[in-house]
């Protein structure tokens, strides 16, 4: 019995149970919802969210109120850069990927420097950076014609690539494996948990706290940039504010995956489930034929109810 309750305390298990429940609910409400093809499509959307959430996950794990509100801006910027550089031509893909990753890393680096060297709280730094990125998008958009996804990229995201799954899902699986390896089997991963759990102790044990924290923000920028490229492949062309929806959604995916915002514990496997959970929830609400107002109320209330399964703070009375 206690083994079962212990299992139910595992965020990943909770997320999987909730996913199954929501799929069942979706199927009941609109038959066809839980069909293989539809689940595959939902997974593609979840992969987009899940890849941004990987970066968000790392920043949050690093503790000290780590959070990255600028991911949405980086996603948009990356989608636009990629669209312009490939302009519908497969030959442009390598350059586009390179440019996007460099841009994502650059803004992540700025965030990291602001947070560590200037000691600006992450929420403030990345919020300010979001404003800058949004402004930058306007500048980029007005000057340069926006482009189109290369056909190969579009196919990679939405067409079958290997064993019946589209490329982006394989990419997501690879990212999941890389993250699991990074967090559990590398010194870097152990150090992330160490600074997230007790920064002072980590410093005293010779962990390069600032360098690691900067690296986390850089990685967050890079993951957001990768998402931007995939998003371009998903929608075919790029447009401003395309990434805005990922800002808070990525944080919620992380929380639904069992990583508390205080950092130092959790992991990416849960976050992947969390991203899928959130996407299913949004999707059910789109297919249910109710007013937008009703959708939003149900969505907000459901998020709150789901949160009760996770990350409730400790009671002050032990």
């Amino acid at each position: 019995m206690s083994a079962v309750t212990a299992l139910l305390r595992q965020p990943l298990v909770v997320a999987l149970i909730l996913i199954a429940g929501l799929l069942w609910l979706g199927e009941t409400l609109s038959p066809g919802f839980a069909s293989g093809q539809q689940i595959l499509r939902l997974l593609i959307v979840a992969a987009l969210l899940g890849i941004v959430a990987a970066g968000q996950n790392l920043v949050i794990l690093g503790g000290r109120e780590g959070i990255d509100l600028s991911v949405g801006g980086v996603v948009s910027l990356s989608a636009i850069i990629a669209g312009n550089l490939m302009a519908g031509d497969n030959a442009g893909i390598p350059l586009a990927i390179l440019a996007c990753v460099v841009a994502g890393a650059f803004f992540g680096l700025l965030n990291g420097i602001g947070v560590t060297l200037l000691r600006i709280p992450p929420l403030v730094m990345t919020l300010g950076m979001l404003g800058v990125l949004q402004g930058l998008l306007v500048v980029v958009r007005q000057g340069i014609p926006s482009g189109r996804a290369a056909p190969a990229l579009a196919d990679f995201v939405s067409r079958t690539f290997l064993f019946g799954l589209p490329g982006i899902l394989w990419l997501w699986v690879v990212i999941g494996l890389v993250m699991a390896f990074l967090l559990n089997r590398t010194v870097f991963g152990h150090r992330i948990y160490a600074i997230g759990s007790n920064e002072q102790a980590a410093f005293m044990a010779g962990v390069p706290v600032k360098a690691i924290r900067i690296a986390l923000f850089v990685l967050s920028g890079v993951f957001a940039a990768i998402t931007g490229i995939c998003l371009l492949g998903y929608s075919g062309s790029s447009f401003a504010n395309v990434g805005e929806q990922y800002m808070l959604a990525s944080i919620i995916a992380v929380v639904f995956g069992g990583t508390p915002l205080s950092g130092g514990k959790g992991g990416y496997t849960g976050t992947m489930a969390g991203a899928f959970l959130l996407v299913i929830l949004q999707s059910i609400l789109t297919t249910v034929n109710i007013d937008e107002s009703g959708r939003q109320m149900v969505f907000g209330a459901t998020l709150l109810v789901l949160m009760l399964f996770y990350g409730r703070g400790r009671s002050m009375r032990a």
Binding site: R119, L123, G131, V139, L248, S293, M297, G300, L303, L304
Partner: protein, 330 residues
């Protein structure tokens, strides 16, 4: 017996340090004065009575919302639903006024209902964050979606007009002085009163350490809920100003204000981690955002660069505020 290894900081000695410690909004004030001067330099008319009145009208709502956010941040919490509460209260009062006719009594009744709505939203946030112990950032984001849905339910389309009497009063003059300045004075008095309350002090104490405050015998949950309730009330007041300035209901009007309200609080020198800050600073922070926005236009920034320049200026102001404040107090 100086214990060096304790993280005690060197005692502040100079007058400057003491001033910064006592008035953490000083760096923000300096930034604000510079911005005002620059605005006047580039567009003298922006500092005329009309110009200033216009600016106050435009940013009074943000000032109030920044104050709302401050009370929550005092306790180390955050409210991402503040803007959604503004939208909800806005459509509620406009709806009530439209339903019952636009005479004076109705307007007062509508405002009372608006305040109650704001308070109720604040209490909901308080329950969710303080009593149910959900993480403030994500929980108030969820409630913001819920409140927005409710606002859309009440008024699916932007555009129900507010009664003329209401916005004419807000935009008009009393005793030859623009109405908004009366509001500003009332606002200042209200803040002066609130500073002296037990709740303010206890919110700050809770922000310094929830566990410590709880162990000291403070009703921490109730205090945090009090902060959210106060936030709801001030968000409702912000909604009144928005309604006065826009003369209509719009279920999405406050959405973008949330992040600005947080930026304003930080610009004003308050610590996001709680325990430290002033409401005056947040008001100054809101004004800084306003003056940056108008200055960007007055210096003749090309339109496609306006958002970027604003974003960079706000980021720099945020960084300058945090850095100068820390250096001055260190």
């Amino acid at each position: 017996m100086a214990s060096i290894e304790a993280p005690a900081r060197p005692r502040s000695s100079s007058a400057v340090k003491r001033a910064f410690e006592r008035y953490p909004f000083l760096p923000a004030l300096i930034i604000l004065v510079v911005l005002i001067a620059l605005n006047g330099w580039f567009q003298p008319r922006s500092l005329s009575l009309v110009g200033v009145t216009g600016l106050v009208k435009t940013y009074l709502a943000l000032m109030l919302l920044a104050v709302a956010q401050t009370y929550v941040i005092y306790a180390g919490d955050i409210d991402l639903s503040a803007g959604a509460i503004v939208s909800l209260v806005n459509v509620v009062i406009v709806g009530v006024m439209a339903q019952w006719g636009g005479d004076g009594v109705t307007i007062v009744a509508a405002l009372a209902i608006g305040l109650a709505t704001g308070l109720a939203c604040g209490i909901v946030n308080g329950i969710v964050v303080a009593a149910l112990r959900l993480q403030a950032i994500v929980a108030t984001f969820a409630t913001s979606i819920f409140f927005t849905g409710l606002a859309l339910y009440i008024q699916p389309v932007a555009g129900t007009p507010a009664p003329t009497a209401f916005w004419r009063t807000y935009g008009g003059r009393i005793l030859e002085i623009p109405f908004v300045f009366h509001v500003v004075v009332l606002f200042a008095v209200l803040l002066a009163i609130l500073v002296r309350t037990r709740l303010s002090l206890r919110l700050l104490a809770v922000g310094d350490g929830q566990q410590e405050s709880y162990q000291s015998g403070l009703p921490v949950t109730a205090i945090r809920m009090g902060g959210y309730a106060l936030c709801g009330v001030f968000a409702a007041l912000a909604a009144f100003c928005i309604t006065g300035d826009t003369a209509s209901g719009d279920p999405l009007v406050g959405g973008k204000m949330t992040l600005f309200s947080i930026a304003a609080v930080v610009l004003g020198g308050s610590a996001l981690s709680g325990g430290y800050g002033t409401v005056v600073g947040s008001v100054i922070g809101a004004l800084i955002i306003g003056f940056i926005n108008s200055l960007v236009f007055f210096v003749g920034t090309p339109s496609e660069w306006q958002n970027l320049v604003q974003g960079v200026a706000i980021l720099l102001a945020l960084m300058a505020g945090v850095l100068v404040g820390r250096r001055a107090r260190a």
